[in-house]
Structures are given as C-alpha cells and as structure tokens.
Assembly symmetry: C2
C-alpha cells in the first residue's frame, strides 16, 4: 500500500490568496468552491470546506431529494463488508470513525437533529443457508480484524424480545451505528446557510441544475495534439455553467451530483464515469405505542439469501430496506415492497402491526468495483487538472462515506493528496488517462 | 315483501313552492336541500336532487377524501353477495342497474371521466378450500337467479393470459362492472358547481364541518312527555349548524357523512346510529407498458380464504384491495399491504413487476347487518320527522349504492316512500323508535 500522508489532524488553513478572487466581474464575488449536487455527499463536502474557511456554493435544483432521501442511514462498515472489497473497507472504517465528530459539528440551536445514534447492529440469519452465508462473512470479518460477537438465539431474543421464531443464527456488531440521512441533510443545509449569513456571504444554495463545466484554457489540449507532449498548457476548470446559461465562476468545482455527473457537458477529455443506476425500494413505518420500542438495535438479516434490514429511529418510526434492482424502473416495485415486508416479518413478526407511512424508490450511483469515484482527474500530461474534483459513485455507501469524502476533498482543496485513497481516483476506468501518481498538484 | 310504489320512471317535478323559500333572512336564499357529507353518496344525492330542480348545498371540509378516496369502485352485486343478505342484494342490483344512466348523466364537455366500464369480473380460487367456498357461493348466487358462468382453468387463462399457475377454479360474471370513484366524485363536483352557476345560484360547496342539526320546534317533544301522546307537535329539522357556529337553513337536510354522522349534535331523540369503522388498506399501481393490459376483466380471488381483487383501469393503473380490519389503526397496515401483494401475486404473478404508486387506508362505515341506514326517522309519534333524511352506513357498498341512494332520497324529497326499501330505515336499530310504517309523510 502506498504511504499515507498523516494529515488527519493538521488543519489546512487556507492562505489569503486561496479564499477570495478579485479579478471577477464587478459585484460577483467568486466562491472558493462550487459543489455540483446537494445530496448528503455534496452537502458534507461543502460543509467541511466552509469549516476550513472557504466560501462555497451548492448547485442543485432540489437538494437531498435523490438517494439521500431514500437512504436508511446505516453506518455499518462491518456488516456491509463484502468479500474482496478490503480497499473499500479501509475507507468505510475511516469514515465511520469520523461520523461522531462530523455529527457533533452540526449540532447547534435551531439546527435539525442528525439522528446519529451509536446503537448496535444485530445480524440474524433465517434458514440454514443464511446461517452458512453469515458464518462465511464472519470469517472474512475476522480476517480483517473486525469485532463481531456470535450470540445464541436465546441471547439475541433476550436483547431483542420481538425477534421471530425462525432464526438460525445471530451476531452482534457493536460498532455499526446509524444516522438519519434526511435529518443530517437538513442540518447541513441549515448550518451552511447559517455560517454563510454570519460571514456576510450570500446564501450558498443555487436552486438550478448544472449543465456543464466552465473551462479556462483548453480542456483537451494535449489530447487534441497527439504527440504534442506537454508543450501546450492544459486548461483548468473555472466554474459551472447552469441549465439556464448562467456561468458560476469558482476557484474549484466539485462534481458530486451522483448519476447526473455522467451527463455534465465538458467533462475532461477521455474521462469515463461508469455510473449505473441501482434502484432500491425502501419503506418507512410507524411503530404503534404498545410495540415501542420495536427494537433497540438495528436488525440486519439474511432471509433465504435476501438481505433486509430494520432501522429503529428515536421518533418511533422504523426504516425497512432495501432492494437492489438493476432494472430500468425508477418507481417503487410492488414485488420489492412485498419482499421487504415478507422478509422483515420473518425477523420481526410484529412488523405486520406497523403503519406503512411511505414507500420510496431511488437509484444509487453504482460503479464497476462498488467503490466511489473520488479525487482529481489527470490531464493528458498525467498531471491533475486544476480546479476539478470528482466525488460520485458512492453506491450503497453515500451516507456512511460522507465524512471521509468531505475530509479528502478538504485535503485536495488544500493541495494535499492522501496517497491512501488514490485507488479511488475517478479516472481509474478511463483507459486513455494515465495519472502521474505524483502526489499534490499544487 | 311490502308493495313497491313503481315510480322509477315518473319524474318528481317539484311544485313551485318546493323549490324556493322566501321567508329566509334577507340576502340568504334557503336551499331546498343541505347535504352533510361530500363523499360519493352525498355528492350523488345532491346531484340527483339538483337534477330534479332543487337547489342544493353540500357541507364538507374536504369532499371525497374519506372512504370514496380509497374505494376501488367495483360495481359487483353478484360477486359481493353474502349468504343471508338477500335484502341487500335487491338494493345492490337495483343500484347496479342505475349506474349506466347515472354515469351518463355526468358526461359533459370539460367534466372529468367517471371511469364507468362494463368489463366483466373473473372470480378465481387459489387452493382447494377456496374452490369449495366459491362453489358454495355459486349455489347461493344461482338460488338468487344470478348469472355466473363456470370456466375451465384453461378458458380462464385464455381470457386472461397472465393468470398464475396455482388456480383451483374460475367463474365469469359478465354483469359485475366498475367505476373510478375519484373520477366519479370529481365529475359530480364539477357538474354540481356547473349547474348551480348556470342557474345563477351560489356554488353549492360549503367547505366547513357540520357540527349538528338545526331544529324548529322541539326535537324530542313527545319523548320528553311520556304519555303525552300527539298533543305537542314534534319539531322539524330546519338546517345545519356548522363547526364555526354558522347556521345553514334548508328545507331538507340529508345526513350523508359516513362515520361522522354519529357525532352530529341534536340527532333525533332516541336515534341510534350503530356505525363502526371497518378499516381497509388498498393499493394503486402502474402497469409497465410491456405488461399492458395486465387484464381486461376485474380479477377477484379467494386466496387461502382471504379475498383480494385487482381492478384494471383504462389509464394503465390497477387497484388492488382490500383488507377489512376491525382494529383501531386508521393508518396503512404493513401486514395488510403484505397480504394484498402476496395474494394478488398468486392470482397474477406479474403484479410483482408493477410500480406501487399509492398505499391508502380509510374506514368504511359498517353497520350490524352490513346494510345502509337510509331513509327518514320516526318521531315518538311514529310519524317521520320532517326535514331530515339519513343516508349513511354504506360499508363496502358506497360506490355501488350511490345511484339507488340518490334515487331513494329524491323520492323522499318528493314525498314518496318506496316501501321496497323500508328495511333499510335508519331507525331500525333504535329500540325506542317505532315508525308507523304509514308511507308518505307529506
């Protein structure tokens, strides 16, 4: 593994020249950072940048209405571990460790609660096949040094009395927690606006769709002149063009609009963003008073090979999710809802007595290796294109990975490239792009 | 059976004195009829009264948002037949026969469509027990002279190719049709407002809750003086008192607000309205293009003893319903939704591929004998109280029974009591009320 630059605790105090630009058109201050996409990842990135002293704008016609709106908010690097995804595990563990501080940074008078809770996760298997599969997963977890405690069925039922009779195995994972993504997004929006106002800046939210990137110089200079070498200086990203034609200039642009990143105009020459929609159905339900609390722990299960989870909120609601459909149907799947209710009732029969408040479907931005596209993009010269950071493709992990994505982007904005995370470079699926792996671009 | 007054085709042309009243406060014209409740029954009653030349008002804070909003709209007297409900069968058949003309009366430029369709109903059984139960039902249907055609499974599948593999029996009922209750309610509202405007009347809709009845004279005169005989003239209902205290005077008041009828103030002395909420969950789904039409017929099934139906709409949606819950949970039941999706998929496996658009729960106003509370109410004298008609307790049959309820009320407003329907008198559950059964009150 490449050496890591240990800058976790070193604040990147921006130099004066970083935080303002005075050659902009009269009356239009140029923000330090323009974030395209106001889902939880984009909001988290904007928030961390703002905390670092930078001025930010967030460009989104409808913030927090995409995958963030659907997400259950499990912060579950251990139970979400998949075989051969150890690189991703490093990232999810690092982000999980950052969630308490990230959530704490959002607390304030009048700020919506994030719903961050350190309650444990109880993993249950239904039939013998589920028991075998979860035993295999536990092996992988143990190999990675993760703490998973096997429970007897009796102990599981003692901890959660409403667990059903058809359970084959149980594990307790103390470190897999939860947050309320809608609450966290609302808190982020509230704090972003509040800090901007306190600084005398305009509100950071631009309720427009981004159409493409705005460049200075030539986006594909070297690529247009094969063999031309590094003679011509490649362009830099200088802002965002909105759907209505307005240009929003910014010192740095972060592309964090999930699946929509694919359709931005003037992405770097040769950059392929292999994002695909992975649809999920998810339910929100109310627990009647006489059944509260339905559970204390988050319940994750494997029921005849299908995953299902039940996340209890402090307000007496629960979230039951989530299907994974690689079809082309963005709406809520009747078969998906049926499957979730059927399998959740195997784990907790009392689910039948809950009130169904909401059935939601959204698309997750999937990538070929299930890991995000996160970092800078190399030009034909091999050097990173100035002014551009990509942060998309978070798939099932957008909420969990928000703090680490925000931290990594904050480092990149400060001129620091942590080599621990270069495996997630967004140009890794672009055969014509060969980054120089030279570290910082500044 | 009591003799029926054959007035079906005799228009009750109101006399001039019936249609206006000039002793009202200056500037406040007194309508002929005030209908409390703007569900489909109340709207239908108002419409029929308006067609008869009467001026009407409909009092409802949120018309057509109760049971009407949930209802699937099956017009199915044959498949809905229950053992020992033959009196109700007469009423449902009479109403079914009225639906084509009733729907036609609502057609007009700019008027929303009612969705009235004469497509047949296919009744399916799942297991052997369901086959036996449906064979028993067919006996009762045959004894009542109803036309039910038994099909082979092969013939059923030829008619509806998406029928699933686990079917034990099939029947075709050509006369059980459907309407779209939301469309019909919208058409009724549109026509009621339009006719009022064309006549130069104020808009008939009063968006307030009714608090109670307004009386002239003494509501319980005789009851307060036991043994007093008929010396004191009993009162008459003269209008409605709104929740905000406003008095709406009217020549006749029709109580058609479902379960809320119970809590009206100043109901007649001794009148018991034994209404109870019977909650139902119902789903609306969209059929993807490649599966259209999902079915041509309405599919009704019995799946391991539980009823389920699938009603296909012309717009490519289907309605799947409905549970019957005698619990106290007005919200959508997770267990109910699970049951509907599970059982509908037994009849039509392709239901799994539909998009779930909406899950809705509403309470039906149930009565002890599953029949409506429909007609005038007797005073202690045995004579009917002038100015008051009750039309509630339609349970599962509100949409089907709307035209006959509207017709019966129109007759009552014209001074005609059809003795065929006195079994449904609203005072039949009131032990202290003994109607004289003397026919017309006028």
């Amino acid at each position: 593994m490449a050496p890591t630059m240990p800058r976790e605790n070193a604040p990147e105090t921006p130099t004066p020249g970083d935080t303002a630009e005075h050659d902009a058109p009269v009356g239009l201050p140029v923000p330090d950072v323009a974030v395209i996409g106001g889902g939880i990842v984009g909001l988290g990135i904007a928030w961390e940048a703002q905390c670092a002293g930078r001025s930010v704008v967030v460009i989104d016609p409808a913030p927090a209405t995409g995958a963030t709106f659907a997400a259950a908010g499990m912060l579950a690097p251990v139970s979400e571990l998949h075989y051969q995804e150890e690189d991703l595990l490093d990232l999810t563990l690092a982000s999980s460790a950052r969630w308490p501080g990230f959530a704490a940074s959002l607390v304030g008078p009048g700020v919506p609660g994030t719903g961050f809770r350190t309650t444990p996760t109880l993993v249950l298997g239904a039939d013998a096949g589920d028991r075998d599969a979860l035993a295999d997963l536990r092996e992988v977890q143990a190999q990675n040094g993760l703490d998973v405690e096997q429970l007897t069925i009796r102990a599981a039922r003692a901890a959660e009395p409403l667990v059903g009779p058809h359970i084959s195995c149980a594990y307790r994972i103390a470190s897999d927690h939860q947050v309320d993504p809608r609450g966290a997004a609302a808190a982020l929006r509230h704090r972003l606006s509040g800090v901007a106002a306190a600084r005398g800046d305009a509100d950071p939210f631009i309720a427009q769709a981004a159409a493409g990137l705005l460049w200075e110089g030539c986006p594909g200079a070297a690529a247009q002149h094969p063999g031309g070498g590094g003679a011509e200086r490649p362009g830099r990203v200088a802002g965002v063009v909105l759907g209505n034609g307005t240009e929003i200039r910014a010192r740095e642009v972060v592309v964090a609009n999930g699946l929509a990143a694919r359709s931005l105009r003037k992405l770097p020459e040769g950059l392929e963003l292999p994002l695909r929609p992975v649809h999920g159905d998810i339910l929100r339900l109310r627990v009647p008073e006489h059944l509260r609390p339905l559970t204390t722990a988050t319940i994750r299960g494997l029921v005849r090979g299908l995953p299902v989870y039940i996340v209890p909120r402090e307000d007496g609601t629960v979230v039951i999710g989530a299907t994974s459909r690689e079809d082309h149907n963005p709406g809520v799947s009747a078969g998906g809802v049926h499957q979730l209710l059927r399998d959740a009732q195997v784990l907790l029969p009392a689910v039948a007595e809950l009130e169904l408040l909401e059935s939601t479907a959204r698309a997750r931005p999937g990538t070929p290796d299930n890991a995000p596209l996160l970092g800078r993009v190399a030009a034909a010269s091999g050097k990173d294109i100035p002014g551009l950071i990509i942060a998309t493709g978070f798939f099932r992990h957008g909420v969990l990975l928000t703090p680490i994505a925000a931290h990594i982007v904050r480092q990149l904005l400060g001129g620091i490239t942590d080599l621990a995370w270069t495996n997630f470079r967004p140009d890794r699926f672009s055969p014509t792009i060969r980054p120089a792996h030279a570290g910082p671009t500044a």
